[in-house]
């Protein structure tokens, strides 16, 4: 995985996953959403279309509540969803790996929503409990390494071992 495309994609998945988790964990409590979600059936046509894409993309019968809260601003939801869908679509990295990355991000940031949501998506892509535990193991061990490195304030010393990707920007 020497090409930069893999790393750009991984970074975008990490970022947008965190963005979704922030809203889901922060605004949706066991007692309900802190901001009234838009009703799936009562939404305007454009939002209905986004909701349909979300249901289809995740293979879920219902739109996760966090998206319905975000639908309070339909233009914001549509743009956010477009970015998220692109980030998670099969590209240099397959969606199966992207779901694993999102699961690892969610586990690391203690996102109850993200952990549950992306675990379900991993399973939907055929990842077994053994595969899930592989991701849990790497997440745990690197959560350990990072804290040891930070506590000792170690300086990066391995960046030079990977070859640099000298290719240009896609589409140029």
């Amino acid at each position: 995985m020497a090409e930069d495309a893999y790393w750009y994609e991984a970074a975008f998945v990490a970022g947008i996953t965190n963005a979704l988790n922030v809203a889901a964990d922060g605004l949706i409590t066991p007692a309900g959403a802190l901001i009234e979600p838009v009703d799936e059936t009562a939404a305007k046509e454009n939002t209905q279309s986004v909701f349909a894409e979300i249901r289809d993309f995740y293979g879920e019968p219902e739109v996760p509540v966090v998206f319905r809260v975000m639908a309070r601003d339909p233009i914001y939801l549509a743009s956010f969803w477009k970015a998220l869908r692109h980030a998670f679509s099969d590209n240099a990295l397959p969606r199966r790996v992207k779901d694993a990355l999102a699961f690892a991000v969610s586990l690391t940031t203690r996102s109850a929503f993200g952990t549950t949501f992306h675990l379900a998506q991993m399973r939907r892509r055929g990842v077994t409990d053994a595969g899930v535990m592989e991701v849990v193991g790497v997440t745990q061990m690197f959560s350990s390494y990072t804290k040891i490195a930070d506590t000792l304030q170690l300086q990066p010393d391995m960046g030079h071992i990977a070859p640099a990707d000298s290719s240009g920007v896609p589409g140029q």
Binding site: T108, M141, L154
Partner: protein, 84 residues
Amino acid sequence: MPTVRIRDASEYPKEIQQLFERSKEWFNFDFSQPPAMSRVMAWDLEFGAPHGVAMRRAAQPGEFSRAEKEMVAAVVSGVNACDY
């Protein structure tokens, strides 16, 4: 600056230097000095050795390839805001 002096590989006992050779194989790179983290973990092998075994166990290819797992490690390090 690190809060400890990261010892040169030559300061470690011979048997630990042999372990450093294994890290070259693991990373498939001929380091002039083992990575700082390898030298840190070798400070106390009663911790570092089983920690390393657990790490290699987690990182070995399974349903996910080693490269895919390196990517998981990278995002975990990223969200932990770890430069190392």
